[in-house]
């Protein structure tokens, strides 16, 4: 069974305090790993796709990296507006296009 595990479940940071979120996966034959941001009452907003180990992508204060077993979302000098739940997802290995999501990390950045 494919599994995606995110840690920590919740993270509180002070503004400017950098940290990382973790997403580990057990799916074999990875066909991509997706990071999304979700604000309360909104749908997930696409951030990044990573396809192979060693790949990195950046957007403003966020950088996503990928290894063979896990992905990290690094947040550099976060601001209060970065507060959200961050979800990672992988395509199910059985050939379908469905995404299997982790439970997310709820990030709170205090001013």
């Amino acid at each position: 069974e494919d599994q995606v595990t995110q840690s920590p479940e919740a993270l509180r940071l002070q503004e400017g305090e950098s940290s990382s979120l973790n997403c580990s996966y057990t799916v074999s034959g990875l066909r991509g790993l997706f990071w999304y941001r979700q604000d309360p009452g909104k749908g997930p907003e696409f951030l990044f796709t990573l396809y192979s180990a060693g790949e990195e992508k950046e957007k403003e204060r966020l950088k996503a990296t990928l290894t063979k077993k896990e992905s990290f979302l690094h947040i550099t000098a976060p601001k209060p507006e970065d507060s959200a739940t961050y979800l990672c997802a992988v395509p199910w290995a059985g050939g379908s296009e469905k995404l299997v999501f982790g439970k997310g990390t709820k990030l709170t950045v205090n001013p």
């Binding site: 995606v4 009452g41 909104k42 749908g43 997802a89 379908s96 296009e97 469905k98 982790g102």
Partner: protein
């Protein structure tokens, strides 16, 4: 429209009633997905359409749930004989061509509450 549009944004109904949830995908996107999200959980897959046909309906929990996409654009998720356990946020997503490596773009969902 610019993004995925879902209506209604909120739906409250009584147990046993029938509900329809609508999804209008991004223009030109051929692939459409339905997910369900409970509080504190990630979205859970329900069904995937490529064009007009359901390519994968393995996530539908039982035969009370049904979805259609008759013209390959708008989709409707239908739930019969609703139960309190059906309460959740129902999310719709679309992608340009489908395919596992393509990002899925989500709407803001319909929050369904069964009393």
């Amino acid at each position: 429209g610019a993004g995925v549009s879902q209506t209604p944004s909120n739906k409250v109904t009584e147990k046993g009633k029938y509900v329809e949830l609508r999804c209008d995908p991004i223009s030109g996107h051929t692939a459409l997905y339905w997910y369900r999200q409970s509080l504190g959980q990630g979205p859970e897959f329900l069904i995937y359409f490529q064009g007009t046909g359901a390519a994968d309906d393995s996530g539908l929990p039982n035969d009370r749930f049904f979805a259609v996409r008759p013209e390959g654009s708008v989709s409707t998720l239908k739930i019969q004989r609703t139960e309190r356990g059906d309460s959740a946020v129902y999310l719709c997503a679309s992608s340009l061509y489908g395919g596992a490596g393509q990002p899925q773009h989500f709407g803001d969902g319909t929050r369904l509450s069964i009393l």
